[in-house]
Symmetry: C2
Subunit: 195 residues, 2 copies
């Protein structure tokens, strides 16, 4: 995301926090963040209580964009199975981007190792919302155990994102979609489920 | 792992690097590592070229223990399917440990975001060896596409480890095993595959 020179110091800091923590990890220093944003440390501490709060706010701000990416463009016409598989197709597409390092919310959880960190709480909420969406679709699609299927799909989603992000797997051949398809079939969510 | 007071400075450093980077992340400072090991920075740099090299060596040293954990105790008598599922049962057991933060090799890959880092190379080799083991077992068990099944199983393995390690999932009810079972079934690796 290119930031306009006219962006506010707050927006510049949130952009820098999102961009640099994704690329370098959450241990990125405050000095580097402020330098990238062109904002003094003093101004930063006037805007945010802490680096933790700034990181959490930067993750929070990215949620609408992140979630829109996984929403089927013809959601009304699509079946639950199609809407679920679309999430994995989009993950596969995203993983081909230059500079892809996996799902930013999973990465933050893995890196912080602290569920009480404000950024972990934001990330956890994003993951819970995706699980709830999978569960709802699984129920609509007639899954025998919608809760189990949703949890299985999250294992695949996060495993695929972590592995592709770390450069130990490539998803371009449809690996994530194929795996999700096998789990949908096993759970009884067929191609002709009710929409 | 408790370290004997008689352990060499090298072993104390490797223990500290493994323990602290697992608990706090790879960004843990050299000062903290040397303090925990009771070794001066000067001695550390006589033993290792860099913190990177020390981290890689600490991961390398843990491989035999890590891999033994996933080897079926009655490997000769077990079927390929049983040997594969044993890996997931052991993952589920490990995830219940206090202080579990997921697979240390996956965590390092996610945190470093740099495939050229010496520690990333060690982690990648561990992941490739597990993929090869899954592929061999899948072939022995009659999988239609052993390579595909192995890659799918790795998505589940790493997804389960990352999610449980981050505290957003619990595996104690057999989630990982159930997911692997569905994929084995879909790939045609039945309970009565040849051993």
């Amino acid at each position: 995301m290119a930031t306009s020179q006219k962006a506010s110091p707050r927006d510049r800091l949130l952009d820098a926090a999102a961009r640099l923590s994704y690329r370098e990890g959450v241990s990125i220093g405050i000095e580097a963040l402020c330098r990238a944003a062109g904002v003094s440390k003093r101004s930063m501490y006037q805007l945010f209580d802490s680096k933790e709060a700034m990181l959490a706010a930067s993750l929070e701000r990215g949620i609408p964009w992140y979630e829109a990416r996984f929403t089927h463009p013809a959601a009304q016409a699509a079946s639950p199975r199609e809407r679920i598989l679309y999430v994995f197709e989009q993950l596969e597409r995203a993983s081909e981007d230059t500079g892809y390092h996996g799902c930013p919310y999973l990465a933050v959880l893995v890196e912080l190792k602290n569920p009480e960190h404000p950024a972990s709480k934001v990330a956890r909420a994003v993951k819970e919302r995706l699980a709830a969406a999978f569960r709802d679709e699984a129920a609509r699609g007639g899954a025998r155990d919608p809760e189990l299927l949703a949890r299985q799909l999250l294992l695949v989603f996060d495993g695929a994102s972590a592995r592709a992000g770390a450069g130990v797997e490539r998803l371009a051949d449809g690996l994530a979609t194929a795996t999700a398809t096998a789990l949908l079939d096993a759970a009884g969510v067929g191609p002709t489920g009710t929409a």
